[in-house]
């Protein structure tokens, strides 16, 4: 401590673990999270659990989720730092964790989350109050508004959204831990119920049960761990406070987050081997393609084409585990588990050949704020 280097340490993900996503009977979220935590510790090859000196949990607006103090007690660990953010989806929490490690406050930190909500496998996710006075019963209504504006401005259609949904399902079919694996076609998509026009049933992710855990460490500590560490390369963030004064909700004409992300890493979208957008709806996935420069504004439909481009063997494989849409909704954690496994080469039939650089991109928000938050990750030999 106290040296200049201690305040600018590099950060890596050293272990990941998750349960199967889907139906879990009446198991509670904390029990699932403890399972995921154990498998992440095994994955990292850490035998002494007391090396965990930071523990971050996450809660939903309904209060469900993981309380980091109660979790630490259940896991029998005594981390010196515990915490959970107000809006604790994966990018926010991992950025916080990375800052704790980069600053030297922690050496090895775990982010754990698990839930088994009522309505699992049936109810649409995102049903917290947005503005109930005006019937925004679901966050998806905001994505619907965004897509209506996109169609108006660029002449796009909902077909591109269907391609995203179908391709996510194809990936989930290759993933035994995914929540929704029955085959789906474009006809199934087009015939699915109109929930919040222009979105259909398959545009919006459903509730599901499951847990995941991610172990992060300083890159020096990471060298002692069992598996190839996956490094944080850079972070990009952007937020606007007000729909009422600001620009579009999902699509960012300024692309400040993308600029920050790519400039800090010294690379561009052409260097990304695999993309993981956080998608409460299909709209968020196509927004990531535009916001992070994989295509021009308005160009997502032409870019996605028949969907093969975002498949395992396409130019830009996307959400290879099935994403939230088919893999199960876990506030972005399963995206990170899959990203790490892809960069390590552990994904078997859905492995992207020679994936070295991965991008996680989340965008969305709640009434008070719309945001973009993204991270570039790479394996150590990415620029060799």
């Amino acid at each position: 401590m106290g040296t200049k280097q201690a305040l600018s340490r590099r950060v890596s993900i050293v272990g990941v673990g998750m349960t199967r996503q889907g139906a879990h009977g009446d198991a509670d979220g904390q029990a699932l999270a403890l399972q995921a935590f154990r498998s992440a510790m095994e994955d990292a090859g850490i035998r002494d659990k007391h090396r965990i000196d930071g523990l971050l949990g996450a809660k939903q607006f309904d209060g469900s989720g993981i309380d980091p103090v109660l979790f630490s007690r259940a896991a029998g660990i005594t981390p010196s730092i515990t915490g959970a953010l107000d809006y604790a989806t994966a990018a926010f929490t991992l950025h916080y964790g990375a800052a704790l490690i980069a600053s030297g406050a922690c050496d090895m930190l775990a982010f754990v989350y698990g839930r088994n909500p009522p309505g699992s496998m049936v109810e649409l996710s995102g049903a917290q109050e947005y503005d109930l006075v005006h019937g925004f019963f679901n966050a998806a209504a905001v994505h619907g508004l965004s897509w209506v504006e996109h169609m108006h401005k660029y002449g796009t259609t909902t077909d591109v959204l269907g391609r995203i949904a179908v391709q996510s399902r194809r990936h989930a079919e290759l993933n035994p831990d995914a929540a929704f694996r029955e085959p789906m076609t474009m006809d199934d998509y087009r015939n699915s119920r109109s929930m919040i026009w222009p979105l259909r049933e398959y545009d919006v992710c459903r509730m599901s049960g499951g847990a995941a855990a991610i172990i992060m460490a300083s890159s020096e500590v990471a060298r002692d761990c069992a598996k190839l560490p996956i490094d944080f390369l850079s972070i990009g963030r952007e937020a606007t406070h007000a729909l009422e004064r600001g620009v579009q909700m999902s699509f960012s004409p300024e692309r400040r987050a993308a600029r920050q992300l790519y400039e800090a890493a010294g690379i561009g979208p052409q260097d990304v081997d695999v993309l993981f957008p956080y998608e409460a709806t299909t709209v968020a996935a196509v927004a990531a393609l535009e916001n992070y420069g994989f295509c021009e504004p308005g160009g997502c439909e032409a870019f996605v084409g028949d969907g093969s481009r975002i498949g395992i063997n396409g130019d830009l494989p996307m959400n290879t585990h099935g994403g939230h849409l088919s893999g199960g909704y876990l506030i972005g954690l399963t995206h990170h588990v899959e990203l790490v496994r892809q960069l390590r080469g552990e994904c078997g039939p859905r492995q992207v050949p020679d994936a070295k650089v991965g991008l996680y991109a989340s965008g969305g928000g709640i009434r008070a704020q719309f945001y973009h938050a993204a991270t570039l990750f790479a394996r150590g030999d990415w620029n060799a």
Binding site: V133, G135, F137, I196, W197, E244, R245
Partner: protein, 145 residues
């Protein structure tokens, strides 16, 4: 064809504080108003305690014409009150207010076929009764447009 309806008023309850009360009192009297900073003239919406430009707390409540322009919308077919109210069609919308510096209001469109709604269409405010004798500003297409 299902026309867009208002959310059933008896299920809509508003929360109010000193900064939003003038807005709701005006709506109850059938007037659309917006808070404008008394120091720098910036409009803000929703009503809140500080001007986002100069942080002043002094407000002039500007009387608006009630004309709006549709920024974007979605069409919902599921009841926001499952188990209490059967499914019906309603249209959450974001409406720009040209005479309030273009600030936007989250509202609903009513009295319109969803198929005929277009971004940028001109709108006019209407006031719809909700719980407790209050009224909420909603919008419908301007007649003759």
């Amino acid at each position: 064809m299902t026309r867009a309806q208002a959310i059933p008023g008896e299920h809509v309850r508003i929360a109010m504080d000193a900064w939003t009360e003038p807005y709701w009192l005006a709506a109850k009297a059938g007037r659309l108003v917006a808070p404008r900073c008394a120091i720098c003239g910036t409009f803000r919406m929703p009503p809140g305690p500080f001007c986002p430009e100069c942080q002043s707390q002094q407000i002039d409540w500007a009387e608006l014409s009630g004309e709006g322009v549709l920024f974007s919308f979605a069409v919902c077919h599921r009841s926001p009150f499952p188990g209490k109210v059967a499914d019906f069609t309603y249209v959450p919308a974001v409406v720009s207010l040209p005479d309030a510096g273009g600030v936007r209001l989250v509202s609903n469109l009513i009295d319109v076929e969803p198929e005929s709604i277009r971004i940028d269409m001109p709108l006019q405010v209407v006031f719809s009764e909700i719980a407790g004798g209050w009224k909420v500003p909603l919008f419908r297409p301007t007649r003759g447009s």
